[in-house]
């Protein structure tokens, strides 16, 4: 089976030759379906750039990227938008919810760019919010929600298209430790249900939820290891135990 995500010798530079800076320097990486990967590294190490490439938001200067076995290099902007819409769910550090829009409509938003009917959109958004246990907050705007709740709305939004992979960029970066634990428990549970998750973090504690840790420095992968078997962490997690 081909990997879900296959990056081959990708280099990304900014600026003009010869004064270019290397955001990614000959990076190769493969992620299989169902993996939970944490990418760690200091700021400027290239982890965000790598994430943007995985998320089809950026194109490499050199090298190739295969998503579900297909090269993305030749794809048009519209075709990449379609992949992002159907195959990728984004979770951001600062949540990125539409501020004056209800939780339900925030979650339903990606479906606007697909072919789903209005009723179907809202019912799918509703069931995603139920999944992150926010069914009592459907009509709340982000301002009325706590940080943890906002990030749960964002996760529901990432899930609403039933994507092949969730890309989470510092998902707990703006949260307190209790909310962070909640969010990580949700991600871990999603992974246990088979969802592929790739997450950026700079906290080792958060990274330890993942089964595979990739460390980056100066645009290169300097460490890539499966550190333990799947699901070992979930069993010891209090948040999910409470839930049953």
């Amino acid at each position: 089976m081909k990997p879900l995500i296959q990056i081959e010798h990708v280099t990304k530079t900014y600026g003009e030759v010869p004064n270019e800076t290397y955001a990614l320097d000959n990076v190769s990486l493969a992620v299989n379906s169902g993996e939970f990967v944490a990418i760690i590294g200091p700021s400027g190490s290239g982890k965000s750039t790598l994430m943007n490439h995985i998320g089809c938001l950026d194109k490499p200067t050199e090298g190739r990227y295969f998503f579900e076995g297909k090269s993305t290099f030749e794809l048009s902007e519209n075709a990449l938008a379609k992949i992002r819409n159907e195959k990728i769910g984004f979770v951001f550090q600062s949540f990125n919810l539409l501020p004056r829009t209800s939780a339900l409509k925030n979650v339903a938003m990606p479906l606007l760019y697909g072919t789903v009917s209005t009723e179907e959109r809202l019912s799918r958004a509703k069931s995603m919010l139920e999944k992150v246990r926010l069914s009592d907050k459907l009509e709340s705007t982000p301002a009325k929600l706590s940080g943890g709740q906002q990030q749960r709305v964002a996760i529901a939004r990432a899930l609403v298209n039933n994507p092949a992979v969730i890309l989470a960029d510092e998902p707990t970066g703006n949260l307190d430790s209790k909310s962070s634990a909640e969010i990580m428990a949700i991600l871990a549970k999603l992974n246990s249900e088979g969802k592929t998750i790739i997450m950026i973090t700079h906290e080792r504690e958060i990274a330890s939820y993942a089964e595979r840790i990739i460390e980056m420095k100066d645009g290169k992968i300097i460490f890539d290891q499966k550190h333990r078997s799947k699901n070992s962490r979930i069993k010891e997690d209090g948040f999910l135990k409470r839930k049953g």
Binding site: L57, A81, R84, E86, F90, N96, L112, Y113
Partner: protein, 397 residues
């Protein structure tokens, strides 16, 4: 994103900034209202002028002596009057289906007096059937008869103004009236005509044509009216009259005016004026469009993160373009509709002083033009939004 979703999203974005949206639309509102108001005044004026001309008679040709250059001419014709009764007899003896009747008119400015009162007035010598044709009736007494015209009896029918000025509250019927040292008997007072073309139509004295002919001793008429069977046959009637007159006269001896001709010239001038004024009003609409453009650019900057997010989750550049264009167009169409309403109310208010009319095409023009402004001025901000790079946009603070 289909049209309905695009419009819903755009409406929601507009609702979020109610005051700002309203102020932005105000530019368009004022522009469209100004256009509607101007058109309504112009249309009202056209209607008024047309009505005034219709009072003069729509199915008629006016034949006057001499050559009038252009449609309006400059002053009275100077050549010798060659419109004689003999000519009119010729015309009457060669009937044409397009012509119903011919009314020769002797018209003079005279001083009419009764006892110590006197007044300068217009005397018209007319055939008795002119009254029926021109829809004139007596409010007191009677009109003169065919018999009285035939024998040239000294009877007079006077207008209301003249009756008041000469006879005060007394009944003028049966009283005498002195015209050019001849005494006439007042047999009737005409119904009030009001002002026609700015002239008091009630300061008149009508006497039988033959009486007027005796009074002046001349063989010419001042003009004659050719009444046509309908407006459509005016060209045939004109041709016929020209044919008859050209047997005895040269083309420079007379002028045939049709009411249609005069009206169309005046209305043409009026529409040029309207277009010019409308153009000035349209400039204010363009200023309104610039306002929309400006606010949309601000909005794109403010919502850079939103645009980045939408693109990240799968919005194509086209979707973003549509969304922002829809906002601009909705703003301008709302502005246009409100402007039409405001212009209409303004025109109703003004109609207490002058005649106004809001034609449907003006309403459609107002709304159509404002949506066009929305598209034109919304395109630049919308393209800017559509071209934003999602990564950059998401990083924007």
């Amino acid at each position: 994103m289909d049209l309905q979703e695009t419009l819903t999203a755009a409406l929601e974005a507009i609702k979020i900034n109610k005051l700002r949206s309203a102020l932005t639309a105000l530019g368009v509102i004022i522009g469209v209202a100004a256009i509607i108001l101007l058109i309504s005044i112009s249309a009202g004026l056209q209607g008024y002028i047309s009505e005034q001309f219709e009072k003069l008679g729509a199915n008629s040709l006016f034949v006057i002596p001499g050559k009038l250059e252009g449609s309006f001419g400059g002053g009275p014709p100077r050549s010798v009057n060659k419109l004689t009764f003999n000519l009119i007899d010729k015309l009457e003896r060669s009937p044409n289906p397009s012509i119903v009747d011919v009314f020769p008119i002797i018209e003079l400015a005279v001083t009419a007096s009764y006892r110590n009162e006197s007044k300068v007035t217009t005397l018209d010598g007319l055939k008795e059937n002119y009254f029926e044709d021109a829809d004139l009736a007596a409010q007191k007494g009677r009109l003169f008869s065919a018999k009285e015209n035939e024998i040239g009896k000294r009877v007079a029918v006077i207008g209301e103004t003249l009756a008041k000025d000469l006879y005060g509250n007394n009944d003028p019927i049966g009283k005498n009236i002195q015209i050019s040292k001849k005494s006439f008997t007042v047999v009737g007072v005409l119904e009030k005509q009001g002002r026609v073309g700015g002239v008091d139509a009630d300061n008149v004295v009508f006497i039988p044509l033959n009486s007027a002919r005796k009074l002046t001793g001349a063989d010419q008429v001042n003009s004659f009216i050719v009444r046509t069977a309908s407006t459509e046959v005016i060209p045939q009637a004109r041709e016929h009259v020209e044919k008859i007159l050209n047997r005895s006269l040269s083309e420079d001896d007379y002028t045939i005016l049709s009411q249609e001709q005069l009206l169309s010239t005046i209305l043409q001038i009026l529409s040029v004026l309207t277009a010019a004024l409308g153009g000035i009003a349209a400039i204010s609409l363009i200023v309104g469009g610039v306002g929309i453009s400006n606010i949309m650019l601000v909005s794109v900057t403010e919502r850079t993160r939103e645009i980045g997010l939408r693109k990240a989750v799968g919005a194509r550049p086209r979707d973003i373009l549509q969304q922002f264009l829809a906002e601009a167009v909705i703003l301008s169409v709302f502005g246009g509709a409100a402007g039409v309403l405001l212009g209409f109310l303004g025109s109703v208010a003004i109609s207490r002083f002058i005649q106004t009319a809001v034609p449907l095409w003006a309403v459609l023009l107002g709304i159509g033009f404002s949506s066009l402004v929305g598209i034109i001025f919304g395109v630049v901000p919308a393209i800017r939004a559509a071209r934003l790079e999602p990564i950059e946009a998401l990083r924007h603070e």
